[in-house]
Symmetry: C2
Amino acid sequence: MAKSNRNAHPLPEIYDRPGFQIRRAHQNSVSVFLETLKPFDLTPTQFGALTMVSRWGPVSQIDLARSLGFDRSTTALVVRLLVGRRLIARMADPKDRRKFALTLTPAGRKLLEGCRTAAEQARLALLAPFSKAEAAEFLRLLRRFNAAFDGVSRAPPVVQATAGELVAKGKNKPTGKAIKTRLVNNKTSR
Amino acid sequence: MAKSNRNAHPLPEIYDRPGFQIRRAHQNSVSVFLETLKPFDLTPTQFGALTMVSRWGPVSQIDLARSLGFDRSTTALVVRLLVGRRLIARMADPKDRRKFALTLTPAGRKLLEGCRTAAEQARLALLAPFSKAEAAEFLRLLRRFNAAFDGVSRAPPVVQATAGELVAKGKNKPTGKAIKTRLVNNKTSR
DNA sequence: CTAAAATCGTCATACGTATGACGAATAGGC
DNA sequence: GCCTATTCGTCATACGTATGACGATTTTAG
């Protein structure tokens, strides 16, 4: 308890905090992506959205959100932007009028196809600092980290895709709760 | 080239992208921090700024920015917010009238001191998914990742603090360049 | 079948973060 | 001592991201 913080330690312990390093990693990864994808004018978020819409045929915003781990209002903004660029088309879902059905426009398909190489380049650039084994370990640890906190939030992450359906954690009625509060409440409140 | 994307692969390769996992990790780490520090109403960013100002006595915004890896306009916003909350005081620097000298107010000092325990709790919570060895490895890999991309940007990261001075990469005249373009241009352009 | 609960998308608001441009001030070369 | 290049802080703008609230709709309990 003695405030033995003799500052022989030149740098504050901020740099040892996982959150700090993760934030920096995020900055860097976004930077690299933007740089590499500059000809296509796509952010990682937009790329993710396009990719998901491409895979899940007509999909609702909420399902898109869950697949990417976004909040639904975040998703609304991204979708609006992409619709504005005529990369995504929005139609009313006749089955459920609360929903929109999102699909790629031809332009969207073309753009996504066109940036495949660049996207792969970005991925490789991000793993370049590592040996092959380290890269695998890095991803493994990130996944473990995220799995531990994928929790209760307005942006519950996807678990698996059984067929053509998105299934989100805790959405199945059988077990009811039980997966509820896993470790920490993921609700980002401010 | 043959579009052999037979979607036996249910989930798109998005989840294998380091950027995606890093983004999720960032989301989660911010979430945990906010939750844990809720009584103090501090974001990770604000906490970092307060901590740095606390350590570097009177410091300019630009040095604060460098120490945290922020852009200087980002820093201006955070500082404004903290000044608004009377946690940070801003005085004109008599030596260089372009600069402000930032210090903690008594309230700032008290708040920072008060949230020490919570901040440590947050740090531990973030490392909880890992064994001790994994946690160390996680941090090591994150540092290696960031070191590889800490490059040329408006927010060049700090290298070391020699005594009471902040030293930023590439700012020393001796070697001149040589550390310049390390691997990728870190400039985040949109 | 009806009333309550859950779901979907939106809005307002707030913070984090960056770029590009700009004015004020300082530092360096000559 | 100047003129120029650099540095510092700010602004406008843009995107990412979340919360809380709300209306429209659908689902579910009785």
